[in-house]
């Protein structure tokens, strides 16, 4: 079903596939970057709580 | 004895103008910058007169934009540094009036001065004399709009380290439509086609900015000062 005609995209392959590739890459980056941001925020929050906890102790 | 709104406006306006003229070197620097930058293009590109004429509107406008940016940094900076701005904000007349007076004073010494100098630059860039009227009108409207856009940017960045880099980063994208219409109007004047459309658009941008920007600039200062 995925014939050669599909991959060549009627001759426009070198424009079409980089577009989809770049879009997919950016979508992936968004997920990856957001997850990293949240993880870093959790670490910082835990650290801040640990510091105030130890101050109180 | 309380000071009314218009009295406060003229007081601040006169103060700003007087302060500017007290430092004539600071007054002249953006103008000289404008002249130098416009000279750089023909020197760097060593083009024939006809090609120069084609580039002239763009070169003129980019130079005007850059030299306005230079002088915008000082719009609020010195007053913010020594605390005058806070006192003015606390005064009963409202920050709006102060901001309008300061921005108008800034335009008078930078933008308006640029307009007066532009025929010299226009001749250097081979702009035909018939196009001078449009060139000066478009520069006048454009620099006024730019002073207001710059006031918003200056209000947001006053007191920041590396504030002037941020100021450019903020103001230049907002000024791009201005550049397109202003250069477009001058371009049409040079080629002899009707400039009405571009000039009307430029005027519309100017009116829009002059009515809305004071609120934004005042809000920006309030955020920075509080």
């Amino acid at each position: 079903m995925i014939s050669d005609g599909f991959w060549s995209m009627g001759g426009y392959a070198r424009f079409v596939w980089p577009c989809f590739g770049f879009a997919c890459a950016v979508l992936a980056w968004n997920l990856w970057s957001a997850r990293g941001y949240l993880a870093a925020a959790r670490v910082r929050a835990a650290r801040a709580l640990a510091m105030t906890g130890s101050d109180r102790a | 004895m309380s000071v009314g709104l218009s009295e406060a406006f003229f007081l601040v306006l006169r103060r700003e103008l007087r302060l500017s003229f007290r430092r004539p070197d600071q007054l002249l620097q953006p103008l000289v910058f404008f002249l130098i930058v416009t000279t750089l293009f023909p020197l760097g590109l060593s083009v024939q007169l006809s090609l120069l004429r084609d580039m002239a509107p763009g070169v003129l406008w980019v130079a005007a934009l850059l030299s306005s940016l230079l002088s915008l940094d000082s719009l609020f900076k010195s007053d913010a540094d020594d605390g005058t701005l806070e006192q003015l904000a606390l005064a009963g007349q409202g920050l709006n009036v102060i901001v309008i007076a300061k921005t108008l004073a800034h335009w008078l010494v930078s933008g308006a001065a640029l307009v007066l100098v532009s025929p010299i630059v226009g001749t250097a860039l081979a702009i035909p004399e018939a196009a001078f009227a449009t060139m000066m009108l478009s520069l006048g409207l454009g620099t006024l709009t730019l002073s207001w856009l710059g006031a918003i940017g200056a209000g947001l960045t006053v007191g920041l380290k590396r504030g002037n880099v941020l100021l450019s980063l903020i103001v230049l994208p907002l000024a791009m439509p201005l550049l397109i219409f202003g250069a477009g109007a001058t371009d049409r004047a040079i080629s002899g086609t009707s400039t009405a459309g571009a000039l009307y658009l430029l005027a519309a941008l100017c009116v829009l900015t002059c009515t809305l920007a004071p609120f934004a600039a005042t809000a920006a200062l309030r955020i920075t000062l509080e």
């Binding site: 599909f6 001759g11 079409v16 929050a45 | 994208p173 439509p177 934004a216």
Partner: protein
């Protein structure tokens, strides 16, 4: 009646809702994007004029739409934060900015790659392309202004004001093809009544629009939780929240 609105001002509530919504948004986004890609790449017929190159629309148009949608969200959230002093508005605005900027980049790059075979050039200084480029610069300006302040609250408010000032650009981008003689084609989907695309091409496109919006929502929720944590680090509810 307005309790839902007031609850949105509460950081722990926002944090919890964002956490709960994320898996739903991600799943539905995956389904919508999956269908859109498969149907758009395999089942939609090639265009009469553009051949298979038209398929770029399935990533280009949704990205462009999202670049505008994210900026408007950022500006509205900032306005809500400034007017009603709801700090969560700043959190939403800060979370939206990088997502929107990335989609603007996708719109510009995919548009450029589409323009090469169609118009013969990778770039043209036409109103829509130029104003979309200005949008990218505006995003960069807002993202640069926020961290420049020592006081993060002041940074939030300054960035919100800048976003609001720049929102003027959004209708310019949208209507540029209507107001000027633009190289870029006019509205195909948003025309009221009959859109000019056949169903087999249109449905995958609508699905991609929906999928991208849901994806934006999902990523926004993830980033939003990070923003809330950063702003509420010292609060007591955080202790329980980060344990899970």
């Amino acid at each position: 009646m307005w309790t839902w609105f007031y609850r949105l001002a509460s950081p722990p509530y926002v944090y919890g809702v964002a956490a709960a919504l994320t898996p739903w948004l991600l799943t539905t986004a995956a389904i919508a994007i999956g269908y859109g890609l498969v149907a758009g790449l395999f089942f939609a017929p090639p265009d009469y004029q553009q051949g298979d190159a038209f398929r770029i629309i399935y990533v280009h148009a949704p990205s462009a739409w999202l670049s505008l949608f994210a900026y408007t969200t950022m500006a509205v959230a900032g306005a809500i934060a400034l007017i009603w002093r709801i700090k969560m508005g700043h959190a939403v605005a800060a979370a939206s900015a990088p997502i929107g900027a990335s989609f603007t980049l996708v719109a510009l790059v995919t548009g450029s790659l589409w323009g090469r075979p169609m118009w013969g050039t990778y770039w043209a200084w036409d109103p829509r392309l130029t104003s979309e480029l200005i949008l990218l610069f505006l995003y960069v300006g807002v993202m640069s202004l926020r961290p420049a302040f020592e006081d993060p609250g002041r940074g939030d408010r300054a960035a919100a004001l800048l976003a609001i000032v720049g929102v003027v650009n959004v209708p310019i981008i949208h209507y540029s093809v209507l107001w000027w003689n633009s190289l870029h084609q006019g509205a195909t989907v948003a025309k009221l009544g009959k859109p000019s695309m056949p169903g087999s091409m249109l449905w995958p496109l609508l699905s991609m629009f929906l999928g991208f919006m849901l994806f934006y929502g999902a990523v926004l929720c993830i980033r939003l939780r990070g923003e809330v944590l950063n702003r509420e680090r010292q609060a007591t509810w955080v202790r329980e929240a980060i344990k899970s």
